[in-house]
């Protein structure tokens, strides 16, 4: 059992690390559709992580959460986003507040920060997934950073979804999953948020001929 959980723990860590890696890839990516693909990939890793945790801990309901993640985040949401991108006809994320190398450096800093913050908490965590907590925190911070660094509404939405992935990983890693009802609620929320944001992006395009959220400053009083 000890041996198994040791291997399992390493597998969970590996998957978490892959999640983090896709985060960096998203930050480095300039093309919008590639960003969405990377998000789908990240969600796929998340599904594997959740399934692993479910298998190792024997918590059946995490399987359901994993399956839902697979359906919603790997299949539905990327499709919705692709449709939005097609309609907007913007292939490249042209404008960034922070260029790619600087962004990657900042993300590296954020990962270090996350590990520093999680350091005192990790000893209290469960043996299996303790390092995943720090990674989850790093993903949350990077997701938030993506929202700030990019100017287009679509990438901000991707940032939000990455952030949510980080939260889900954190919840699975730190507490072996939230109660099922909460997870269902969160999934529903994310789905609805994506749909609303998709519509909102289209409206933005109609109103400003651009999805540049910087244009919203003219709405200021």
């Amino acid at each position: 059992m000890q041996g198994l959980s040791s291997i399992g723990s390493q597998l969970v860590d590996l998957c978490s690390a892959l999640l983090l890696l896709t985060c960096f890839a998203i930050v480095a990516q300039r093309r919008l559709s590639a960003c969405v693909d990377l998000f789908a990939l990240q969600s796929a890793f998340l599904v594997i992580t959740a399934a692993l945790v479910a298998y190792l801990t024997g918590n059946q309901h995490i399987y359901i959460a994993a399956a839902l993640t697979g359906v919603i985040k790997v299949i539905i949401i990327p499709r919705v986003l692709k449709k939005v991108i097609d309609r907007l006809n913007v292939k490249r994320e042209l404008v960034m507040y922070i260029n790619v190398p600087a962004g990657l450096l900042i993300c590296g800093g954020l990962v270090m920060l996350a590990f520093f913050i999680a350091q005192p908490i990790i000893p209290f965590g469960f043996l299996l997934t303790r390092d995943a907590l720090a990674i989850a925190l790093a993903i949350v911070l990077i997701g938030l950073f993506t929202m700030i660094a990019r100017q287009k509404a679509v990438t901000q939405l991707v940032g939000f979804l990455v952030l949510e992935n980080g939260l889900f990983l954190g919840a699975t890693a730190a507490t072996y999953g939230m109660p099922l009802i909460v997870e269902l609620g969160v999934f529903f929320d994310v789905l609805v948020a994506t749909l609303i944001a998709g519509i909102y992006t289209n409206r933005l395009q109609d109103a400003f001929d651009s999805v540049d959220t910087d244009r919203l400053t003219v709405l200021k009083e």
């Binding site: 913050i117 911070l141 950073f145 929202m147 700030i148 901000q156 959220t213 910087d214 400053t217 200021k220």
Partner: protein, 675 residues
């Protein structure tokens, strides 16, 4: 007793749900809401009465899933007194509403109005029953929000929306202060239960106690309408539907009095320095005087009544303040007397103010205007309304044999007993407060001579008044119920005082029933029979006999009591309503005398005939009173915050990225702090 509580709860809940569930038939909705409220309020009256007479407080509690919130209730004598008062006024207002809402509901849905009114009464009852700080705040907030929604019933009107907003802001500022007071208790006791507030593990430090005193004073004072926090009353009370104004002015502002007594006498056990009492006394004196003075200048009947609420809250605070001063010097009997006087005036004011608001509502119902200058001659057209209004007016003017007289007399007694205080300063201040109270009484009398005389006597001044008709029966029943209470509370203080004594005794630590009642309970004699005593039944009897005597003498010496119809001599001109004494003219001398306080601006425009400057074609007279507190206190405050907001607008860039950055930075800062 618990059964009664369930009936009360069930009645109000039925009153909330049934009108909303019924199909859109206003008739049925009005009746179900009214009948449910009547059943619930009836249960409340019995519950309050039993709570007053029972020796042990009734408690009950229900744990909730929200942390720190326990739905605990406690019906001790103080709570029972307020439950009784709320229920009586609620009952009268509910009966009244059945008839009142027939025409004047405006665009609001009858169902919503009925449901909200039931919820409002329920929330108010739970404010006084709550035995947990969190629960209290919840009920308090619910009560405030519901009253706001009821105030803005006629929200199409700009004036109503403004009044509502003003009220909403003021009441939330008040709630914030109360919340701080409770949080200070929570900080030292670790629990929101009132029981632990009473007996904290470690007593609050002196500074913290002072802070709680001030927070509670401002917080509850806002709701009560203490000067200078009274400014919302004259806006909010007039624009609400009349039965709502009656409940707001009659009992909602009294929940603040409940809160003050609960905190000062119950939580602090009556242990406080003398200046607390003096502060309350001073604010009470100021409120009483300024309230009545502003009321005098008002010609909008409901606004006038709203200002009188400020006055009467002042009188209640005079009693309570005097009680607090005596308490801090250990003069327990006198403290009990002051408190008793304050509570007596509380229930009295609830009765006659609610009665007057219902009366004003009846006038509004019949004439569709609140402006007194457009009334006149209504007594002949609306005799019942006039009669009930007269009883209310006599009560609020503190004339025997009605209830206002007894409680003000008791307040005077407690103020005059200040010679027992060792400090010279207070020995002087209390009689001064009594003198101000006397002045207030006179001005109130003037004010109601004006209100009643201008509205009900002489000839109609407008077509509105000329076509007025007596109001429907439910309105008369509602007013009649309260009028009966006004008379009963005035004639039978020997029944009321022992009941009030049961409220006061646990708070002041001494029972004074035996001391106050003299002559086998037929007279009130707070000190001793030689110094001063009052036998109200005898007084009432005397009044009746004197009237009969006068009538008899008139018959014997004055000749026939026959009505002769003859034209009034009008100096050779035809008499018209335009020649009547107006409300403005009536108060003109007082305005002159107190012009320092009123700061009036008078505008007189004369248009002359072309032929000669000796004949005026038309004269226009206008006068305004400077709203001192709004101009010198509130306007600068609003200006200050507007400037502050302008400065802070820099961070409101409108950029989504910037906002996200704020969140990001805050998140990282918090995470780093947590490490």
């Amino acid at each position: 007793m618990l059964n009664l509580l369930w009936i009360l709860l069930g009645g109000y809940v039925a009153g909330i749900l049934l009108p909303l569930c019924l199909p859109r038939r206003p008739e049925a909705q009005r009746f179900t809401a009214g009948v449910s409220a009547i059943v619930a309020a009836g249960a409340g009256i019995i519950l309050g009465f039993l709570g007053l007479t029972s020796s042990e407080p009734i408690t009950g509690s229900l744990a909730s899933t929200i942390p720190l919130l326990t739905l605990a209730i406690r019906l001790d004598s103080l709570a029972a007194f307020f439950v009784f008062t709320i229920s009586v006024v609620g009952l009268a207002a509910s009966i009244y509403a059945i008839g009142y809402l027939r025409h004047s509901a405006g665009s609001a849905s009858i169902a919503a109005l009925g449901a909200l009114f039931n919820a409002y009464l329920l929330a108010m009852t739970f404010v006084v029953l709550a035995d947990n700080g969190f629960f209290f705040l919840l009920a308090w907030e619910l009560m405030s929000l519901l009253s706001y929604v009821l105030v803005v019933t006629e929200h199409e009107n700009m004036e109503v929306r403004y009044a509502g907003l003003f009220y909403l802001i003021m009441t939330h500022i008040g709630t914030a202060f109360i919340a701080v007071a409770f949080l200070i208790f929570f900080q030292s006791t670790g629990s929101f239960s009132f029981e632990t507030f009473r007996q904290p593990g470690q007593p609050l430090s002196e500074d913290m106690r002072t802070l709680v005193f001030l927070m509670a004073l401002v917080g509850f004072g806002t709701k009560a309408g203490i000067v200078p926090l009274h400014v919302w009353l004259p806006y909010a009370h007039p624009v609400a539907p009349s039965h709502v104004s009656a409940v707001m002015s009659g009992v909602m502002i009294k929940t603040a009095i409940y809160g003050l007594i609960r905190v000062y006498f119950d939580f602090f056990g009556g242990q406080f320095p003398w200046w607390w009492g003096f502060t309350v006394l001073f604010l009470g004196t100021t409120s009483a005087l300024l309230g009545v003075m502003y009321a005098l200048m008002e010609h909008d009947l409901k606004k006038l009544l709203a200002f009188h609420s400020v006055e009467n809250i002042g009188i209640i605070l005079l009693g309570i303040g005097a009680g607090m001063i005596f308490q801090s010097y250990g003069l327990r009997e006198l403290a009990a007397l002051g408190l008793l006087a304050g509570l007596y005036h509380t229930i009295n004011h609830a009765m006659f103010k609610a009665l007057l608001f219902l009366g004003a509502g009846s006038l509004l119902y019949a004439t569709h205007t609140r402006n007194m200058e457009e009334y006149g001659g209504l007594l002949r057209r609306m005799p019942w309304t006039g009669f009930f209004f007269l009883i209310g007016a006599v009560s609020i003017s503190a004339l025997p044999p009605t209830n206002g007289f007894v409680s003000e007399w008791l307040v005077f007694q407690s103020l005059f007993l200040s010679f027992q205080i060792p400090t010279v300063f207070l020995k002087l201040m209390l009689p001064i407060a009594a003198a101000v109270l006397a002045l207030t009484g006179v001005l109130a009398l003037t004010c109601f001579a004006k209100a009643f005389g201008i509205s009900f006597l002489a000839q109609p001044r407008s077509p509105h008044a000329r076509h007025a008709e007596e109001v429907p029966v439910p309105l008369c029943i509602g007013m009649g119920l309260l009028a009966t209470f006004c008379i009963a509370l005035g004639i039978a203080p020997m029944v009321v005082v022992p009941l009030l004594d049961r409220v006061v005794a646990p708070l002041a630590g001494i029972s004074i029933e035996g001391k106050v009642l003299a002559m086998d309970g037929w007279a009130l004699a707070p000190v001793n029979v030689e110094f001063s005593s009052l036998c109200t039944p005898a007084l009432a009897l005397l009044l009746v006999m004197l009237s009969l005597l006068g009538l008899g003498l008139a018959v014997v010496f004055g000749g026939r009591l026959k009505t002769r119809h003859y034209k009034t001599w009008g100096c050779g001109l035809n008499l018209s309503p335009r020649m009547e004494y107006t409300a403005t003219a009536f108060v003109q001398p007082i305005k002159r005398v107190f012009s320092t306080i009123y700061q009036p601006t008078v505008k007189l425009e004369t248009e002359f005939l072309d032929e000669s400057r000796y004949f005026a074609k038309r004269r226009r007279f206008e006068f305004h009173i400077e709203p001192i507190f709004e101009k010198y206190l509130y306007d600068p405050l609003v200006a200050f915050f507007s400037t502050l907001a302008d400065r802070l607008k820099v961070i409101q860039a409108g950029s989504l990225h910037l906002y996200l950055t704020y969140i990001f930075v805050a998140l990282i800062a918090l995470l780093l702090l947590a490490v």
